[in-house]
């Protein structure tokens, strides 16, 4: 089994308060070639976004200090960050969150729990329609 090398040279920010989940996601995306920056909540994520300018952000919705909703709201307020696609991690039990997430400014969502075998492919599928990323992802779509 191979992980597609879709994100070679990319910087990806992952925000999740659950340590194991954060580590698994980080490692998987690193295996796809990206440099991963992690954050334990929205506040930390906001700081690191400014610092690292990631290609995209993978964010949990419910986090302490600042949740994913507020994070995306703050990102959309700043010219320098509003173009960064943010992918929401949604729990199936909260199915209502998906539509809400799209309306709130998330680029798309991926269901939790993450399927390690599919995560990278899922990310490619939801990021392919971001114009700046499309040329880089076409080979893996």
């Amino acid at each position: 089994m191979q992980i597609p090398q879709a994100f070679v040279g990319w910087t990806v920010l992952i925000a999740d308060d659950e340590v194991d989940s954060l580590e698994v996601a980080s490692r998987l995306i690193r295996l796809a070639g990206a440099t991963v920056v992690t954050a334990k909540n929205g506040l930390e994520a906001l700081e690191k976004v400014r610092q690292h300018k990631p290609h995209f952000i993978l964010s949990d919705l419910s986090m302490p200090e600042m949740d994913g909703w507020e994070l995306v709201y703050r990102l959309k307020l700043e010219r320098s960050t509003l173009g960064i696609p943010v992918i929401a991690l949604t729990a199936h039990a909260m199915s209502g969150d998906r539509d809400r997430a799209i309306r709130a400014g998330f680029h798309n969502h991926i269901s939790k729990p993450l399927d390690p075998a599919k995560l990278v492919r899922q990310l490619v599928n939801v990021l392919i329609d971001v114009p700046e990323l499309t040329p880089m992802l076409e080979a893996y779509y």
């Binding site: 089994m1 992980i3 659950e18 194991d20 989940s21 698994v24 996601a25 490692r27 998987l28 295996l31 199936h92 039990a93 199915s95 209502g96 998906r98 539509d99 269901s111 729990p113 993450l114 390690p116 075998a117 599919k118």
Partner: protein
Amino acid sequence: MESMEQARVRKPISVIQLIKSRLQAKLILLQVIVVVIPVLIIAVYAAAALNQALTQQLTSRELDKLDAKTQTVESLLESAEQDARFVSHNSVIQRYVDSLNGEPDAALVADVEALFVSFLSSADTPYKDVRILDRNGMEIVRVDQSNGVPVVISGSELEDKSQRPYYTEAIGLDDGQMYVSGFDLNVTRGQVDLPYLPVIRFSTPLYDGGGEVVGVLILKAFAEPILTSLLSDDAQDYIIGPDGTYLYHPDSSRLYGGLLQNGTTFATDQPQLEALIEGRDAGTLNDGDTITFFKTVNPNQLPNLHLLVIRQNPASVVLASVYQAVFVFVAITAVTILITVVVASLLSRSIARPVRQLAAAAKELGRGHWNAALPPVTGEDEIAQLTTSFGTMSGELQETYRSLQARTREAEEATRMKDLFMATMSHELRTPLNAMIGFLHLMMYSDQMNDDNSHMAQRSLANSQRLLTLINNILDLSRIATGGIEIVAASVSPRRLARALYADMKVLIEEKNLALELEIDPELPESIHHDEDRISQIVVNLVNNAIKFTQEGKIQLAFLRREERLLIQVTDTGIGIPQSKQALIFDDFFQVDSSSSRQHQGAGLGLAIVKRLVLLMGGSISLVSEPGKGSTFSIELPLNLASKDGSAATRANGVFSKNSQSAPLDAEQQATV
């Protein structure tokens, strides 16, 4: 409630609607009908009867009055006749009569003239003249009353009256008999006296001592008093003589049509009235404007005195008393109706009001307001009983309702606690398992693993995933049963979904050396409104099931369109399901082979979840299978689910409790599965 009543009052409604909608209005109407209709019938009948009675009374009163007047006339006529007889049998007259066979004795004539003068001066009844005619009808003695003074007429002024009826009729009579003329107008020397001077002549034959007729005595009476005594005090009178001419008429130009030959008769003057009276003796006519009373009178049965007396009064005057009586009656009736309506409305209000209040209270109760005001209980009538019973019933209902509410709250609380527990458990069980699975995956991606380690990692992963599936299934089943699962529809591309599922399942199938085929109906729309996760869950469960029971051959996955239904079929070439077990395979924890030596693992929850999810989405599931050859599971779902807003998101509890419309499989349906 009050404001509602007022609102209803303010709204303009017709009388018919009012009567239809209000008990009180019905009661008033009933009572008014019961009273008003008989009163009106009686009033109409009474007015007619009263009118008739009053007319009859009027007729008889007029008849009585006229009878009295006729008697006066008769006594006047009789006294005139007696005067004539008295004069004719006077001794002076007798001597004169006896002398008439010889030469006239001048002295006797003078005596007669003196007698006549004294008679005219002293008689109770005023006479115009008194005369004696000889046997040939020639006047031989005559004394006239002129301006109240008796004047003897003699010589050339005496006239021949032999052609006059008072001579011709009287000359043939026996001694003592009397001829009475009709009403005549006095004529002096060929000229009718003006103003008209009506007279009646009484003539009787004069017999001498030898019993021979030698002359006629004539007494001419003024007829005015006789006519006048027939007149009424207050009415318009007409008196018509035997020849049909007016003897009395308020317009004097119409009088004595026959005598004056001016042609005016009753028949030509008032032909309609004449025609109505013709042939009748007496009666009363009413043409609405005028009341006409008429009567034929014939005083002393004198042939020349057949008189028709007519009296006319304006109907308004005569019937004023009738109208007054009718008016009084109508007034009494109106007052009666008014009183009835008032009493009826009060009475019906006292009946209808509690009923209305009861109706309002019942309505309030129906809305769940327990404190609706009940009418006060007075007396022991049916309404009071109804009110009491209603109060009792309402109290019991309230109590039942409250205890039910309490129980419902308890049940809801218990359910909530269970849901909370399930959610916690779900999270607490799955989080570590997901972490383990994630790390196992990462281990397998590591290039630092040797084959042996990789094998162990792979087995750990497979077992972890089995455990996760089992936990997921148990939790799903539980959440479906408690209504914790919600179907959420969104825009889905069926082709993309089918391909994604195919790609996912292909990996699993290839591990087992089976082939997987995908069929997508070209008729399927580009986009449907559906719950992608639930469709995935169903397909994954069915395909997993097929993989589990198929050792060789292929599995076919088909996404098809059947009109407005989405048909998903999973066909395998596996061991199949015996007919006898086909009805049971959707039950929880069911295994076709439940022996301890069974070779297939699994808790038997997959198909149960599939069935419940399908029903939850308003679909159906069926199975065609032959042992040894394979099985086909067919899922039919609505092509589009109802929109997510409002109640459209179907709650899972419907399947197992109240929502029988989603067609749960019963024993019979399962048999066809």
